[in-house]
Subunit: 239 residues, 2 copies
Amino acid sequence: MSFIFNFGIPGLMEVLPADMRARFDALGVEKRYQDKQHIQSRGDQTKGFSVIKSGAVCFGKTDKEGRFITTAVLEAGQCYGEFTVFGGLPRTHDGYAEGPTVISHLSKTKFDQLLLDEPALAAPIISLLTVRLHHMLEWVDDLRRYPLRYRLGKNLLLMVKGMEDSLIAATQSELADLMGVSRVAVAQALADYKRSGFVATEYGGLRLLDKEGLRSWLRQFETIDPVVPATPLFTDAAL
Amino acid sequence: MSFIFNFGIPGLMEVLPADMRARFDALGVEKRYQDKQHIQSRGDQTKGFSVIKSGAVCFGKTDKEGRFITTAVLEAGQCYGEFTVFGGLPRTHDGYAEGPTVISHLSKTKFDQLLLDEPALAAPIISLLTVRLHHMLEWVDDLRRYPLRYRLGKNLLLMVKGMEDSLIAATQSELADLMGVSRVAVAQALADYKRSGFVATEYGGLRLLDKEGLRSWLRQFETIDPVVPATPLFTDAAL
DNA sequence: CATAAAATGTAAACTAGTTAACATTCTTGG
DNA sequence: CCAAGAATGTTAACTAGTTTACATTTTATG
């Protein structure tokens, strides 16, 4: 499962030149986590930058009643910890492993040193932050503008983009988490889609049967024309 | 009026050393705008980085029915254009001046050159993006977690922080825009606050009468403990 | 200073979400 | 292979927001 920062957003490691990646690997301390294993707590003062080598990490906050609300799930290739390194903040989220996960941790000290040694690292980091910020703005905007049955459809299409089989392996609870709504709301939206023949649900997932149909059905909601990048996001930002 | 990126977030210019600020001023082309004057349109290919010298800029998107939905209002000291410069995107929002406004525009070419000449500029930019991203995450989180009468109160308190008079000069429509809800919803929340004696509304603004009372009333909603920065955000990020 | 424009206050009908509950179906581990 | 757990499907009552409407108050303007 995944969230905001995964769809169509390449990870830092993917855009970094090989030699830089190697330096990350050399400096970082790899740590293994089992499924569900706790990684960090909101409020921790452990400052550093981390790269997910494999698996995924679920970030969120546990409220006083003990209920966990997911903020984002980052998958392999993605990094996190900017807030502690660049913002001087303690950990802002609880985090635990989703599936067996390997993470390479760099302390703030080491990371700062790396950035001093390699000023070329700044560009990809700025790019990464920019893309995430842009993504968030769009997300908030959609949240205000469109109902769930638009947003869910849009994100389902995003999820299968570039996949040949159109099978989304996420439970409805996970999709609900993803969209920040209740499971019932997701089930109802999916029931709608099913009636129109856009999707077929199955245990533990669903299949997009008619992407084009869904796409054009969604267009009825769209109140603004989408902006398409002139150059793709995340080119080697000419710094 | 202001939005997400103003409360408690210093502008780029405020954190930049004097010499760097001077370089910005030297390279940029200053342009004056009258109240309500159009500055940019979503989709424009004009790429560059801009600094608001005085006044404010309202960003948003106009939907097909012609209705404008505000995304953010940036005030003097704030900058924008990261998406065009670092993300290779066309302008993602429509923008117009709020009040007489002066903006210093740097073309992408000039800005790229400036960054090459001044690698030290990377740190404050990274910091800025980080702070904004963090703010957005918190915003989305609050959106999911809390009802309007919590979020509005929280933001009213944020707005008067550091002010001695506790007068907020924003119409209810502006507050509604700010919170991404209808004017009626804001009026109802304010009516609640009034009944409790926390605020007094007046034409074109409102006054916080009992900050401490409001603060403690808000606490009843809070489901997680706030995280406080160990070191303040936006220190000269030790790069 | 009279009138228009802007802002506030409030009610009513509606809608898209919520939680709770429960029956059903599917999968997996002993 | 069957029992337990997990996931789905669906209903019902509720709630926090929406839009529309309109009366009232305040400010700005010719």
